[in-house]
């Protein structure tokens, strides 16, 4: 144990919220921040910048939690030029922000900024979970601006048999639930805990207590714990649209999705696509992600399965070893 003692571990772990790797703010709009990470390896020749689009429901520092648990660090080590969107914490003033705002205003603004900086026509997109859905929509609406698209634990078919969330929200009057306000992150936390209540509210703590309490182990645990419950409120209008259009009506799967009045057509997506799937993902069942294969008529489609859960895809030792390497190798051939 270190001189500071393990009791200092929880405090030390709180620094995880800032992320580990060095980065600089390059653009902001409203509460959105666009960061560019400082390189740690020589730039891989010919690579377009990689923009990571994270979900709205949790904070993006999970991608860069600590030195040995950072997918971003793995991507930087592979020589990639990495950008990350931080959506911020919506408040009451954002209650009318829609999916069109997020995709066609915020995400589009980030893409434009990066393309201008690099004097490029297209970049690489890495969409994570809900951010993967946004990335798919953006790529379909602006295919010329996306050179390669990577989706990670991204749902496409929102009504697969194993999707418990989908079954639960199927009969909920989401418009009444949201009303004119936002949806609190705390409410969503309760919902996610209810998916596996015995493991998530009991077993994981008992597991921590049963092991040898060294400082590193406590720090690791507390960083993840902090991230899990660091849940921004959700902008009401966007949340309502997301639940209705995707979970209840499965519009993306059925080819009926429109964003800002334009149809999102994945059928003829003219770009290489890498789909990273967690085989033990309880939030986004593997079948929900794998359905992308049937939606895109694209010949250049690659799916990689990892024997990992949703969070394990970000922070497990295996993910650190395999996921960035898989992304870099796939990009290198394109």
């Amino acid at each position: 144990m270190s001189a500071a003692g393990p009791s200092a571990a929880p405090a030390a772990a709180s620094h995880g919220a800032a992320g580990y790797s060095q980065k600089e703010l390059v653009w902001q709009s409203g509460k959105l921040r666009l960061y560019r990470y400082r390189p740690i390896a020589r730039d891989a020749a010919g690579h377009a910048p990689l923009l990571i689009v994270y979900a709205l429901v949790n904070r993006p520092y999970m991608m860069d939690l600590q030195e040995d648990r950072s997918l971003i660090r793995g991507l930087l080590a592979a020589g990639l030029d990495v950008y990350l969107i931080d959506w911020g914490y919506p408040d009451g003033a954002d209650r009318f922000t829609t999916l069109a705002d997020y995709i066609e205003d915020y995400l589009a603004g980030c893409v434009q900024r990066i393309l201008q900086t690099h004097r490029l026509d297209a970049l690489n997109l890495l969409g994570v979970c809900q951010g993967g859905v946004f990335s798919l929509c953006y790529a379909a609406l602006h295919p010329r601006q996306v050179r390669n698209l990577i989706t990670m634990v991204t749902p496409v078919d929102f009504q697969t048999p194993a999707d418990l969330l989908s079954k639960w929200v199927g009969k909920i009057d989401v418009a009444a639930w949201v009303g004119d306000g936002n949806v609190s992150g705390e409410t969503l936390n309760h919902l996610f805990l209810s998916l596996m209540p015995f493991r998530l509210t009991q077993q994981k703590y008992v597991e921590l207590l049963a092991g040898f309490p060294d400082r590193a182990r406590i720090e690791n645990f507390m960083r993840v714990e902090q991230w899990i419950f660091d849940s921004p409120d959700q902008a009401g209008a966007a949340f309502r649209e997301f639940v209705q259009w995707f979970y209840q009506e499965n519009r993306l799967m059925q080819g009926r999705l429109e964003i800002a009045g334009r149809k999102v057509e994945l059928r003829d997506l003219p770009l290489p696509l890498l789909n990273l799937i967690g085989k033990r993902d309880h939030l986004v069942p593997p079948a929900a992600s794998a359905a992308l294969r049937g939606l895109v008529g694209n010949a250049d489609y690659t799916a990689l399965d990892f024997d990992l859960g949703h969070i394990g895809m970000y922070i497990s030792a295996r993910a650190q070893r395999d996921v960035p390497a898989a992304i870099a190798a796939w990009l290198a051939t394109r």
Partner: protein, 295 residues
């Protein structure tokens, strides 16, 4: 041995609350393994204490012959079911204040709404109705939760393979515990995917939404009487602002001209001013051109 497990936990708990019983040099609590731990982990440590005591009875029973072993297994399963029966369901957390509030007015729910207060009476009746629906949905969920626990206990009894008596060590306890968690999650998943659970869940949320909506309407009414700003007013203003922002965003492309016309340059300042002129109030600082509104 089991004591090793407790020593591990005591050491861990002491890290979180150095002054707590169980910390090095601190006195223990009679009748209970020292090391209650910090408040954050206290419930888990208490629950595991109970688990250990019940597991010990199971193992003692296993040593007393097959009839005794069967009874011990049944008792242990019953213990697990009871242990989790009163668990606060995560999905109920947000609705606890709602349930009950309004139920007391249920007697009034059937009265005809007459006179100048009829709107209020109807609102209270709707709230009362919603509160009853919340209560009913919670009961249905609680019943399903209980069914899941019963099934989990039965599965656990089937899968139970007690270690030899007297050999209850930390690893054996953990295996028992993990087996229980596996059984509980499997049983819960079967229930949670079912139609009855989904319906009850949706009813809970929908009734909660209605209850909140009625409460908001009542608060808005009183806010208007007191001439306080209401959420509806703020929403209207926010929507207007949003509309203006959207118009500004498309304005330069649609109608370049007046809004983009640069202001005339100010006259150059004289290098030397008469003394009297310097006493005049300085001109207001020129506002920076407003950047294109980007939400």
């Amino acid at each position: 041995m089991a004591d090793d497990l407790w020593r591990q936990w005591q050491a861990f708990a002491a890290l979180w609350a150095p002054g707590a019983p169980g910390a090095p040099g601190a006195p223990g609590v009679p009748g209970r393994p020292a090391g209650g731990g910090g408040p954050g982990f206290a419930p888990f440590i208490d629950a595991t204490e109970r688990f250990k005591a019940a597991a010990q009875k199971l193992l003692d029973g296993a040593a007393g012959g097959s009839a005794s072993a069967a009874q011990a297994a049944q008792n242990f399963s019953d213990f697990l079911r009871d242990e989790f029966a009163d668990a606060r369901l995560p999905w109920n957390a947000g609705f606890a204040p709602a349930a009950g509030a309004g139920v007391q007015d249920s007697a009034a729910s059937g009265w005809p709404a007459l006179g100048p207060m009829r709107e209020h009476q109807q609102r209270w009746q709707r709230m009362s109705d919603a509160a009853r629906r919340i209560d009913d949905a919670q009961r249905r969920l609680q019943r399903l939760w209980s069914d899941a626990l019963r099934q989990a206990a039965a599965d656990f009894a089937t899968r139970l393979q007690p270690p030899p008596a007297g050999a209850v060590d930390a690893a054996a306890l953990r295996k028992l515990y993990d087996t229980w968690i596996d059984c509980a999650e499997d049983a819960y998943a079967r229930i949670a995917h079912g139609e009855a659970f989904c319906n009850a869940q949706a009813e809970l949320v929908n009734a909660g939404s209605q209850w909140r909506q009625e409460l908001q309407a009542g608060i808005e009414h009183w806010a208007k009487l007191l001439d306080l700003p209401t959420r509806s007013e703020i929403n209207t203003l926010a929507q207007r602002l949003r509309s203006i922002e959207q118009q500004l965003r498309v304005a330069p492309a649609a109608a370049p001209g007046p809004t983009l016309t640069p202001k005339p340059k100010p006259k150059p300042k004289p290098k030397f001013k008469p003394r009297a002129a310097s006493r005049q109030p300085s001109p207001a600082p020129r506002r920076k051109a407003r950047r294109k509104a980007k939400r």
